[in-house]
């Protein structure tokens, strides 16, 4: 969007009206005392007001705003919404607001292109668009406020708000067998003792089953397995309302991701096999966000 005469609005601020009152008061003083000092000052104040009308308008005129590619964010938390601003000469005292939210000062922008991240707090999950962007400035003197409103076009993917709570874990009968058949090579760990296998050269001596060796049952190596290898298939708790259940799911999902465990997702009409990693998490979260 390019800001110009058609989409910029300007009115005096409350301070602007007060300023006018001050100038008129000085006029009265000047008339009553017939002195030139307050007369000139009051005219200077009026001239500044007239000048300020144009200067404030000039701050925003010619400004070009377009959307960046918004990153997904969680509902209920501050979400960063990127904007790209092209400033022709200079723009000072810029303030933004994406409803719902309050004004954020951006400060002064020099000529050129700038990436600005606005924050807003989405309430709903799914593809969401913040309300109308309002950008305004009162620079240089605060006598006028010049603003424009713009419906930002780019939508932002909003995940459910993560809230701890109960989640249904779906038993996966065939899952254990499948991994066992695959040799569970990826399943090696150090936490829980699993079973023994014949010692091979290169095995750590700390894992040698010395007791069995002493009993003359041959060199065996103890095998361990991490419990988190246990894959989890998460599903919404049927006892809760859907939105709430999804929020709990989201929280559990993030928690598992942080711990590095693998997890899967079972939603109505959609099942995601257990896996790990950022892209897997994003896929699951997107599924949660768009779940109907």
């Amino acid at each position: 969007m390019k800001l110009g005469l058609r989409n910029l609005y300007i009115v005096p601020t409350g301070f602007g009206w007060l300023w006018l009152g001050g100038a008129l008061f000085l006029q009265l003083v000047a008339i009553q005392t017939q002195s030139n000092g307050p007369l000139l000052l009051s005219f200077v104040m009026l001239a500044l007001q007239l000048l300020s009308l144009h200067l404030t308008h000039g701050q925003l005129e010619g400004l070009e705003v377009r959307c960046g590619q918004p990153e997904p964010a969680f509902a209920g938390e501050a979400a960063a919404y990127p904007l790209i601003v092209r400033v022709p000469s200079a723009c000072e005292g810029l303030e933004w607001r994406l409803p719902p939210g309050s004004f954020q000062g951006v400060g002064s922008l020099g000529p050129g292109e700038h990436q600005v991240a606005l924050t807003w707090t989405p309430e709903q999950r799914g593809w969401q668009r913040p309300g109308k962007l309002r950008l305004q400035t009162t620079a240089p003197l605060g006598l006028f406020v010049c603003w424009s409103r713009w419906q930002v076009p780019a939508e932002q993917l909003i995940y459910p708000a993560p809230k701890p709570g109960p989640v249904r874990q779906v038993p996966m009968a065939d899952w254990r067998e499948k991994t066992a058949a695959a040799g569970a090579l990826a399943g090696e760990g150090s936490e829980e003792w699993q079973d023994l296998r014949p010692h091979r050269r290169g095995d750590s001596s700390s894992r040698m089953a010395w007791k069995l060796l002493a009993q003359g049952r041959g060199a065996q190596t103890k095998r361990f397995q991490d419990p988190r290898l246990e894959p989890t298939l998460l599903a919404p708790d049927p006892a809760l309302p859907q939105e709430e259940a999804l929020e709990h799911l989201c929280d559990r999902l993030c928690q598992l991701h942080r711990q590095g465990q693998s997890y899967g997702l079972a939603l109505t009409g959609l099942q995601i096999a257990p896996d790990r990693g950022n892209s897997h998490r994003d896929r699951c979260l997107e599924a949660l966000a768009l779940c109907r």
């Binding site: 301070f15 007060l18 300023w19 001050g22 008061f25 000085l26 003083v29 000047a30 008339i31 009553q32 005392t33 017939q34 002195s35 030139n36 000092g37 307050p38 007369l39 000139l40 000052l41 009051s42 005219f43 200077v44 104040m45 009026l46 001239a47 500044l48 007239l50 000048l51 144009h54 200067l55 400033v87 200079a90 000072e92 005292g93 000062g105 951006v106 400060g107 002064s108 922008l109 020099g110 000529p111 050129g112 292109e113 700038h114 600005v116 400035t137 009162t138 620079a139 240089p140 003197l141 605060g142």
Partner: protein, 642 residues
Amino acid sequence: MPVNTGPMHAVPVKAGGGLPWLAMGLLTAAAWGVAPFSLLGGLSLILLLLTALKLREARQRREFRLVSLLQLVTAGLLGAQQAELGSSLLQGLAVLAALAGLLQLELGGVTHLGSLLRRSGQLLLAALPMALVLFLLFPRFGPFSNLGGLGQFGAAATTGLSTTLEPGTIATLTQDRSPAARVAFPGGGPPPVPQRLWRVLVHDQFDGQSWRSLTAGTAGTATAGAGTPRPRDPEAFAGTDPSLGGAPTPGATQVWLSEPNGLLEVPWSGEGLPLDRHLKRDGQGQLRYDGSVGVRKLYSLAAEPAAAAWRRQPPTAQDLQMAAGKNPRLETLAAGWRLQGSGGAKAVALAEAWFRQQGFRYSLTNPLLPQIAPLDALLFEQRQGFCGHYASALSALMRAAGVPARVVSGYRGGTWVVPVGGSSFLDLRQSDAHAWSEVWIDGEGWRTVDPTLWVLGGPTTVGDSAAASAQAPRAMAAAADPGGPLDWLARQWWGLDLAWGEWWLGFDQRSQEMLLQRLLGPYRDWAGALLLVALALTLALGLAVYGWLRRRGEGDRLQQELNQLLRSCARSGLVPQPGETLGQFGGRLRQARPLLGPELEDFVDLLQQQRYGRPGAPQRQALGRLRRWGQSLRRQLRRSPS
């Protein structure tokens, strides 16, 4: 070198700091000397205090804005009371600082005091043409009479002339070299030396010892003391009040700057039409400044074609009133003159002959006169004295001879100063204080008679400082002394001050009328249209000036050169892409405009070398070459079609 170097400041609203307090300090300095008990003075002091308190507790932008506005209004109120150059400068600086405080609130990124003040100066400069157009052309109104003059209540007296003249009191003043007043004569030189008598007070009540001024004094006592009805209300006799539709007079011929002297009466030549609503002449030839007594007064007078009316104002019984029997020998002498003939002229001639024959001496150190028959003691025993002595004695003698007479005190002479800049002016010191007599001559009016000229050792010509210093004791010599370097500096300043006063006080409703008359002639009705057109033009001018100043101030010299070139390019539609370096942009530019070729390459190379390389050629030379190349490139860009 990235072309887009626009910084982004994400600074929250930050305010306060030094700027508002700087403005407060300047205002406090400007408020120095304001009469605290006058309406306007009190109002501005209270406002100043409230503003300081508000500033102390201010936390939000809204509150800081209010503080700045209050500071502006206070500066305006102070400007209504003190209009001399020094005060006006201080008020102007306070306005500058208050505006910078407002700017600071809006431009979060700029926190440097110097750059804020510069921005504020740029804004003021841009607003000034418009303000001046309004100032010159916007119709002016007379005061709302029912509200009365603001600031009438007087303050305590300071050193200077006194309403009570006892013989000898002025002698203490002659030791005082402090400034009394300055007067400039726009459009002409000073009056000839013998005419340099500057009247302040008229003393017409005589009690045998001292002369009192009944009409004079502070505003509260101005009329209360007069027991007898007096047809001497200010301006009541003259009918020459400028606001009453007299012919427009030319501009000021006397511009006065009078130090506070504890009196409402201010010095003047006795001739001239007051150009200020606060100034009133009265029937005795006193000029009264309606305002507070404790401040310096700047006022001006215009030439008046007719002789001053007070000279023909007939005497009253008061001017003959005599404390009979207090000075018997004096009365006997005067009775002899009364017998010799009537008429003031004759009496004056007789008195002059008698004074010259008696061989009185002029002296600044005199014994105290006795309580009983003091003037007898002066004239017949002591035979030495100062201007105050002789003026008292002569006026008493005249009254005893049946001729209306009074004593006038004021200043005599003064030093003509031609400063390096500003107006030339006559510098009056307290040591120039003088007293003389005025005698009513039938058919002529009030005649100025200075008996000090008749005595031995006194100044032979009125105000002739050179003659006085040759003969008179050290105090008179000191009066003629040009003084040290500080004195010189002070005089230069007063010269500027008076020039300011001439210009600043001179422009009033009447001057505006004359200006419009000159500008528009018969099309006087078009003044409104002229105002609107001039406003539009000055608004455009202000915006252009501001834009130019803003652009000029960006970055260092190298950056400014580059910016100029980039602006030229942008006009031809060549804008650097995001992330494009100067070298890349230069290459693209060369492709788009092959004619620019080598010069552009040189320009870019030198700029990069200066910015990032080891310093090769001296900075100044490099800048000079850059500027030359930049100018030539911009010219070519303008010429070559896109």
